[in-house]
């Protein structure tokens, strides 16, 4: 018998979840279903895709606004409508909430001077300004307009860009466009490594 996640949940909701009889001797499916229902009741459901491997499992993300106006992520689960995953997830996808909401995030731009032994917390404006100046200086210093054979080549040899296999496609496209606009030839992502 093939039971999809959708049917499984329906079985549970109808209270006929023979599959849910646990070693404890009672049916846990209705209880699980009720708990989940309470947890996500009134929540907004959004569609996203798992950030890990490239199976492309569709996810449902449930959020609620807190009284303070913050968006709280309540739950991430597999989307039962997807022809790719039909609601199923692996341990990584099933714990995606812990990647999404983490106390371990980098909180602000950080800068390390040459030879420094610690980071310095800096403003976005400081970091972006300095980075832009570095890019211009490196580009001007390492740009080759014509090679030794007299060919027009217009390339920047001294800057590399690498990333990001978890970019949205549109971000990746923009990265390619901006880097090629600067004349960057060293351009790479995880495809080779």
């Amino acid at each position: 018998m093939e039971v999809t996640r959708r049917q499984f949940l329906q079985l549970g909701a109808a209270g006929t979840g023979v599959l849910g009889i646990s070693p404890l001797g009672f049916d846990v499916v209705p209880a699980t279903k009720i708990k989940q229902t309470l947890r996500i009741e009134g929540a907004t459901v959004s569609h996203t895709v798992c950030p890990y491997c490239a199976v492309g499992c569709a996810l449902l993300a449930y959020t609620k606004k807190t009284p303070e106006g913050k968006t709280q992520l309540l739950q991430i689960e597999g989307d039962p409508d997807s022809p790719v995953n039909e609601g199923r997830l692996c341990p990584k996808g099933a714990s995606a909430l812990q990647l999404a909401v983490s106390r371990r995030r980098v909180e602000s731009p950080m800068y390390r001077e040459p030879g420094a032994t610690e980071w310095t917390k800096v403003s976005w404006d400081f970091a972006l300004d300095k980075l832009a100046r570095n890019i211009k200086e490196s580009r001007d210093r390492t740009f080759v307009t014509t090679d030794a054979d007299g060919n027009v080549v217009n390339r920047c040899e001294g800057i590399a860009f690498a990333g990001g296999a978890a970019f949205s496609s549109e971000e990746g496209y923009l990265a390619t466009k901006l880097m090629r606009g600067l004349g960057v030839v060293h351009l790479e992502q995880q495809a080779r490594v």
């Binding site: 895709v49 993300a61 968006t71 995030r105 890019i135 978890a166 949205s168």
Partner: protein
Amino acid sequence: MTNHWRDIRHADLILINGANPAEAHPVGFQWMVRAQIERGAKMIHADPRFTRTSAVADRHLRIRTGTDVAYFGGLINYVLQNNLYHRQYVEFATNAAFVVKEGYAFNDGLFNGFDPEKKVYNPAVWAYELGPDGFAVQDINSPRSVLNLLKAHYSRYTPEMVSSITGIPQDQFLEVAKLVGETGKPDKVMTIVYAVGLTHHTTGVQIIRSGALLQLLLGNMGRPGGGMNAERGHANIQGNTDHAISWDILPGYLRIPAPGQKTLDDYVARSAAKKLHANSLNFFGTNYRKFMVSLLKTWFGDAATKDNEFAFNHVPKPASDASWLSIFDAALRGKMEGIMLSGMTATSIGPDSNQVLQALSKLKWLCVMDAFATTSSEFWRAPGIDAKSVQTEVFMLPATHWIEKDGSFTNSGRWAQWKEQVLPPEGEARHDHWILAEVFQRVRELYQQQGGTFPEPVLQLVTAYKDPRKPDLDEIAQEINGKDLVTGKRLATFGALKDDGTTTSGDWIYCGHYPEAGNLTKRRDGVQDPAKNDPTGMGFYPNWAWSWPVNRRVLYNRASADPQGNPWDPKRAGIKWDAAQKKWVGDVPDYPPTADPANPASPLPFIMTGEGTGRLFSNGVADGPFPEHYEPVESPVQNPLHPTVSTTPVAFVYDERSGRGNRFGTAAEFPYVATSYRLTEHEHYITQQVEHLVQLQPEAFVEIPAELAQEKGIANGDHVRVSSKRGKLEVRAVVTKRLGPLTIAGKKVYQIGIPIHWGFVGINSGQHWLANALTPFVGDASARTPEFKAFLVNIEKM
């Protein structure tokens, strides 16, 4: 993938190599298991380790890592020798009958065209004999036909030879060869599923080609349940390859121009495939210029005119390979000033992490954009490095996650699926594309104020977004799709692109994903209503998301039907010719939609190649027109086929070529073969920041075969030191029967397994050993893919 995840359920035989889908792509693996359960499919897993994939498979073959060319070669030879290939398919859909130009040779491990000084081949010598009409001569009975050269080339891959190279016992190999050979019948189909276990070798490209050759011979390419299916390892590695975050291409797999290509016509002439058969449509080659001009118009707008070759000279022309290894090689040579890493670490991902750390230390500046600290942002205080001595200026910019932004991910099966923004950016975090857009605008302002070297492309690149510093991904999606500049309307297909500067498209293979009707990657007609949403019953679900190109679900699907247009297997039709309607029906055809197969002038089935067919012989690769087995650069044996040319003569050996001296070990010092891999609970390195996953797999370890452990007195859980010529790990040993000894060229060889996930950053930051400290800094001749999956180590009990 030529096919897609759900399609694997149509296979009769599933050949899995260099992959462990049960653990690395568990949810995709369901389609393989469903093929077993629903249609009695057989699953064969050839892998150095017995994994959970092997446990579900019908047969596990313990293979020596890096020998898949020999394994596939043995299967190809078995199929050819026993006439098990799909003759009608091969004659219809491959270049078997093409005659190769005189001079082709393969002797003692070398093809013709080898330059021993430069250690490169000249692939141009591997060409066809051309007739008076300029097309390739066709004669399948010629001694120089592709089929006859193929038979001769592979005749050396006997079961004895395959066993001697791979370690697979002959009886097991022959049992599998019999199953594989049976899929040469029209009503049988085999899929090949693989991952980086096949690509991460100095013969990586030829390993993949070997699989493709086998699939062409058996008539399995283009068919539902068939194809060559790469399981990609990161959420959007496919989409970002399509959009060309890769040194050698522009979006849509257009080649990056090369020095000496003075004009656009020159570029097209040297980049696009030539028509080699009178009935070849050569769609890509014929339309190459349209796709390139539309891209240049997208990027440079009004500054791209007919008079200036549409700003062709604004596009950089690399001097030589500029891929991953080349970046760090250039840094080691003092030629690289700055690196931007966006959602990607350099240190952990390697290879040869210790050398990568040195390379990062030689930069003027490094900018890391990520949500979490990485081993690259923290490289300057890695264990063993004195921070005071590192003169690199480092930026750590907090970036948003996938869930804090919208945009699409393209999965392994080429399905582009839109995701919504679920959460606002955390704290001060900014989107990667906003950081890049903002930095670009600031660089542009510096050029406006100060001038500088060749500022034109920086000043003229089109960034006409509502806010050029904060472009919406929806705006960019529309730009990628492209439009007609005369009507201003977005285009429905790349068939409408022109080379006169009146159309745009940022990536021609995505043209049509966002027509006037809206963004098709948002479509959600899935399995909630199969009768309505899957009209063919083949699992194409054409209104779930969108797949490139033109929402086609199986590439090369013209080859799923016979020359008359009838599916090889009517129960598993890809497309078929509907004579009443005078059109192809089923999947979106990979063929002109109304080309009548009864018309002798109709195109050959593979419309993207110059031949019009699949290629059993090709000069599109740098290391030979046919695949050949070469030993990994670090190997315990000499190549049994040709000991004097044991490893590939054209692998790119960076250290030697840059005068640093090779960092390769010998079997005398490092007697054991090692391979590296992922675990289910981790994804590279980012999951070291996820508590549940760190609890599930908390600690670095290596897997050691039980027999070897006994020889070395190592017990399960002991601390061991694993070392290569380049570095070491000091971690716990997991002693297991999942690995075991092989007999290679008469010699007993052990393989050791090394999970890749740990480093000096993360929740368990005491676990500072980097698996890639062990791996060699050497690349495949064509793709420069490092040899992460086969190298030599020693192991000692601590």
